[in-house]
Amino acid sequence: MNALRTALPLAIAYLRERTMATLLNIALLALGVGTIIALILTLNQAGQRMERDAAGIDLVVGAKGSPLQLILSAVFNVDIPTGNIPLADAMMISAEPMVKRSIPLSLGDSFRSFRIVGTNPSYLELYDAQIAQGRVWNKALEAVVGAEVARATGLTVGSKFAGAHGLGDGGGDHGDQPFTVVGVLKPGGSVVDRLIVTSLDSVWLVHEHEISAAGASTAKAADAHKHDENREITALLIQYASPMAAVAFPRRINAVSGLQAASPALETARLFTLVGFGISALKLFAGIMMVCAALGIFIGLMNALNDRRADLALLRVLGADRATVLLTVLIQGFALGIAGVILGTLLGHAATEWMGSLVGKIHRVPLTGWTWAREELWVIASALALTLLASLFPAWRAYRDAMPELLSRT
């Protein structure tokens, strides 16, 4: 304890003496730690989101195209859909005995870049979405908005809004077919927070209207039954009745022309292997930065040792034992480590929050720096261990070389 009391001010005085090298080492360490922490926070949140959003969905049926795109668009609501499939096909699939639950989705419109999803109330059940205010829709053009949508747009029960064509911001809008908000959902941490949910009828109504407005006004009295046959949805979310279904069921659907089946679990796993290389490279880079920082600390301490032989011997002359001398050097290295780690942790969280604010505006995907991950402790611990390791040899050298007898004669 006394050693610490003595060593700390001395270590700080020494570090202050070489400001540039000290700052450089701290910055390097902070960058390494910060990068890894930002990666961890981002990946963790993305992973948790994906797991939550894909929970209970065994298979997604949609139009042929990229299976990853189908999953991204239908489950995570981040990509554009692969196309549409006939409602009749979807109904046939739903009737299969291997299907326990099926939820149709119809996508295509948005409001201020929040997606409007046409579906049935079982979609809300899938995510356990609770009504905070109002009620679920019971007729066309009534909508329920997710908590985040309500927060960001100010929509509330009774508000009217017009969907815009397309999933981004700025498509032409359907101003003549406004939706009425009849319910606001509680925040649930799932994709529904960022969605406007309505009935399939609503989506069809808006688009039929568009078609007829586009010229086919003579066909407006078209037979309702026939119309029904031509109806389309974007995707069908499926929960199997038994895990055995995974073996043959997707293959059967893929055989049908125009349809494809994709598994969220498989596609997310594939996504992570795709981005996995980039992540590993980034982690390696950050790791190298940390090692460089440790090397810098090592070199700095070794140089200081040569410059300050006399000082270290003096500590002995003034009554410090060799353990205190060893601690002095160790504390110098460790002080750098702690400064770098604190700065790096702050940096990592700030960077994540900043990325979140950028990404959030464009894609409506939540990402925050105001959260913690257990893996961070590992990063912090290994950074500190690394600096301790870097200080160990110089400290031992100081222990060995601090000889007061050298001082009294020179």
């Binding site: 006394n2 009391r5 003595t6 001010p9 001395l10 005085a13 020494y14 202050r16 003496e17 006399a310 000082d311 003096l314 500590l315 002995r316 002359v317 003034l318 009554g319 410090a320 034992d321 060799r322 353990a323 205190t324 007061p404 007898e405 001082l407 009294s408 004669r409 020179t410």
Partner: protein
Amino acid sequence: MQVELSGLRAGYGGRVVLALDALSIADGEHTLVLGPSGCGKTTLLNILCGIDVPVSGSVTVSNVRLDTLSVSQRDHFRGRQIGLVMQRLHLIPALTVEGNLRLAQKLAGFKTDDTHIRGTLASLGIADKLTAQPRQLSQGEAQRVAIARAVINRPALILADEPTSALDDGSCDSAIDLLFSQAKSCGATLIVATHDQRIKPRFSRVLQLSKAAA
């Protein structure tokens, strides 16, 4: 008795450079160790403060048998009981004058005492140097800081190695005055080792060393 030596043989690598069959110095008996360069004066001081151990013989300082202590025990003893003014002053350049003195207090295991630091600097006439860096000091000021550091923990024994050899006659006298007055104010015994004949008259007790035969 402040210092008690008997049958002392000290040397390096098998060569004896200092032989003292018996020496005792009473409390407050300020002593000058005089002799030509290379006769073993610094060796004697090193043994008295526990930096070196003798080849044989016993060393008792302030009733402690130094030759029987471990290295770290001798370090602790030195920090608390001995004030050392070395030939070269060795102030730590990264610390201010105040920082150097505080360090001496902490290393000895004492609480830092800023009032005592200021008082000591004032008694040495360098009160205004409290926050100065060592490199901003003149040679004379630096020596006073080194003396301050030696006495800051109120040691029982003050050892000064060649404190006057680089000084002109006037400064030589005032350096010795300061050492005497500081020894008095902390009740310490002063031992000065030097080849400088000018200060011989200032001491009532003089230990004359001559070069040991090889």
